[in-house]
């Protein structure tokens, strides 16, 4: 029997794909985190004003306000909230740009979900 001490937190998942959001939610909830979802950039921007968020998982490709714009906004508004950027249109220069705009993690699709969840856990554990 494993004994793990987990810190629980609130995770905001921003992705236009419904199934993707659900699978992330199921994983995170299983570990005891609270999950709030936004289907686009605009919804996310209004949601962060009312919710207290520990970690953000952000998809770069979305219609309307795209991931990079959301990232810049979040970093300006809540500089201490870590953001994990997920993208299918990757590459070193995209990674560089995400870090420049304030992302703490950069993950390319397709990925292993357990990896993402592990990183979220680590970010929450490390939070002051």
């Amino acid at each position: 029997m494993q004994i793990e001490r987990r810190t629980e937190g609130t995770v905001l998942v921003i992705d236009d794909d419904d199934a993707m959001r659900r699978v992330l939610r199921d994983f995170l909830q299983r570990d005891g985190h609270r999950v709030v979802e936004a289907a686009n950039g605009e919804a996310a921007v209004s949601m962060v004003e009312v919710e207290s968020i520990d970690v953000v998982i952000l998809d770069k490709e979305m219609p309307g306000m795209n991931g990079m714009d959301v990232l810049s906004f979040l970093h300006r508004r809540f500089p201490s909230t870590p953001v994990i950027l997920i993208t299918a249109f990757g590459g070193p220069h995209v990674a560089e740009e995400s870090f420049r705009r304030g992302a703490v993690e950069y993950i390319e699709k397709p990925f292993r979900l357990s990896n993402v969840v592990d990183r979220v856990q680590k970010l929450i554990d490390d939070a002051p």
Partner: protein, 500 residues
């Protein structure tokens, strides 16, 4: 060289030679000939006149001798006296001495004759008592006849004497002279013909032939072989001018070939990067479209796996699913790595340096499309923040589209100017064509991936979407303004970098 060419040159050469010979020789020969004829006639007339004077003198002497013999010696001496008077005058062909009854007064001898030729002249002389001369023609021969009266001491006319003087000798002399002249003229003509032929061949045809060869050689793009310049005359100058022209043509041709090579190289380079961009876009689109569902499937499998207790046999099945999805993921990732565009190098760029580098290619393509291209990109514009290769690709894509729209015989202009947007300094590139324009319903679609009006296989439908992506990553904007029949204007705006 084909046989026809050789024949052509030969025909021209013979023609020129013959013409020159005719022009050079006919006038002098005509002049000499006419002069000869006139001169011969004058000569002949003079000779005849002299001959007639001789004949008259002989006839007068013979007349005196005959009258004296009749008076002093009697008719028996007449023949001897006459022979004496006529000796050494071989031109006298015939002498007739008749009395009033037209009976011969002397027997026929070598020099006198009593034949029954025309006696009309003798009769006239006896009647008039006057000497009389005339020319009588018999066939081709002409004879000068001179008649004198024979008088007795009383003064009465008792007979008449006729001296006929043949002009055959003079005619023979004249004929001889004419043949002599004709012979000399012929010799002169033949030698002048030969000489002119040689001179024309050496001085004119040989250099002309060399020039013709040179021109043919040049026309075929043959090896460089300047014509030898052996002379300082007009033909030498023609050869010199030809050599100059040939070398200028060769230089121009070399430059054209070089320009074509440069354009081709640039085109290949651009096509390569355009292909890469298209492939990158396709691959990342694929990664997104497939990657997301794959992620969900593997996520669901992982979720199930985590919820199953250790030792459950279904765990193995899920491991297989996850393993296979990992394989697909790895494949997609390696595909992405292969076609991933190079990391752009964002720097401050003078737009004119990008356009200048493309100019050879653009002008070349404009010619191929029969389109007039006007470029106005000043060097003193502010710099823009961009990747050189990407900016190049944007310009190429938009201008090539304009060429497609404007061809044939249309105009395309590429203009750059300083422009501010939302109080940000920048530069805008404006590409305008005189094509048919884009229907309003389509202007919103042209930036969508895979939208193309070209026949299948010719356009990827990704040119403008890639341009839009590039411009967006550079924080700029791209817009289109078009109306059917009015042509199309594409405007790309890029923000200026910090002042260097």
């Amino acid at each position: 060289m084909t046989l026809d060419h050789r024949r052509g040159i030969l025909a021209t050469a013979v023609g020129l030679r013959l013409r020159l010979i005719l022009v050079l020789l006919i006038p002098p020969i005509l002049v000499v000939g006419v002069y000869g004829v006139v001169r011969m006639r004058a000569e002949r007339a003079e000779l005849l006149a002299e001959d007639q004077r001789n004949a008259v003198a002989i006839a007068t002497a013979a007349q005196v001798a005959v009258e004296r013999a009749l008076r002093d010696a009697g008719p028996s001496e007449l023949a001897a006296v006459l022979a004496d008077a006529l000796k050494d005058n071989r031109q006298i062909s015939r002498v007739r001495l008749f009395d009033r009854d037209l009976r011969p007064m002397v027997p026929s001898t070598a020099q006198t004759t009593n034949d029954d030729g025309p006696t009309d002249a003798l009769r006239r002389v006896m009647q008039s008592g006057q000497a009389e001369g005339f020319t009588r023609r018999t066939g081709r021969e002409s004879t000068f006849v001179y008649g004198v009266p024979i008088r007795a001491t009383t003064g009465a006319v008792i007979g008449a004497m006729e001296i006929a003087h043949s002009t055959a000798a003079i005619d023979a002399r004249i004929r001889g002279a004419v043949w002599d002249i004709v012979f000399r003229l012929s010799v002169l003509m033949i030698s002048m013909t030969v000489l002119t032929g040689i001179v024309v061949q050496r001085q004119l045809l040989k250099p002309l032939f060399a020039l013709t060869q040179g021109i043919r050689n040049l026309g075929r793009g043959g090896p460089e072989a300047p014509l030898p310049i052996e002379r300082r005359d007009e033909l030498g100058r023609v050869a010199e001018a030809f050599n100059t022209m040939a070398s200028q043509l060769r230089t121009a041709r070399r430059e054209l070939v070089l320009e074509n090579e440069r354009a081709l190289e640039l085109e290949q380079q651009l096509r390569h990067s355009a292909t890469l961009a298209v492939a990158g876009r396709l691959a990342s689109g694929l990664a997104h479209e497939i990657g997301t569902p794959l992620n969900i499937v593997s996520g669901r499998a992982e979720f199930l796996l985590h919820n199953l207790p250790e030792g459950d046999e279904r765990r193995e099945e899920l491991q297989v699913i996850i393993g296979q999805i990992d394989r697909i993921s790895a494949m997609i990732r390696s595909l992405l790595d292969t076609v991933r565009p190079l990391k752009p190098t964002i720097e401050n760029i003078h737009v004119n340096t990008v356009v200048d580098r493309l100019l050879v290619l653009l002008m070349h393509t404009a010619r191929r499309y029969s389109v007039t291209l006007e470029v106005s990109v000043p060097a003193d514009l502010p710099t823009v923040r961009a990747d050189r290769n990407q900016l190049q690709q944007v310009v190429i894509n938009i201008v090539m589209n304009a060429f497609e729209a404007a061809r044939p015989a249309g105009r395309v202009s590429l203009r750059a100017e300083s422009a501010n947007r939302d109080s940000r300094a920048g530069v805008q590139l404006v590409v305008k064509d005189t094509g048919h324009g884009i229907p309003a319903a389509l202007t919103s679609k042209i930036f969508e991936p895979f939208f193309s009006t070209k026949p299948p296989g010719e356009g990827t439908g990704l040119g403008l979407p890639i341009c839009r992506d590039i411009v967006k990553t550079l924080d700029g904007s791209i817009s289109v303004d078009s109306a059917p029949g009015q042509g199309t204007i594409f405007t790309v705006w890029l923000p200026s970098g910090p002042v260097e």
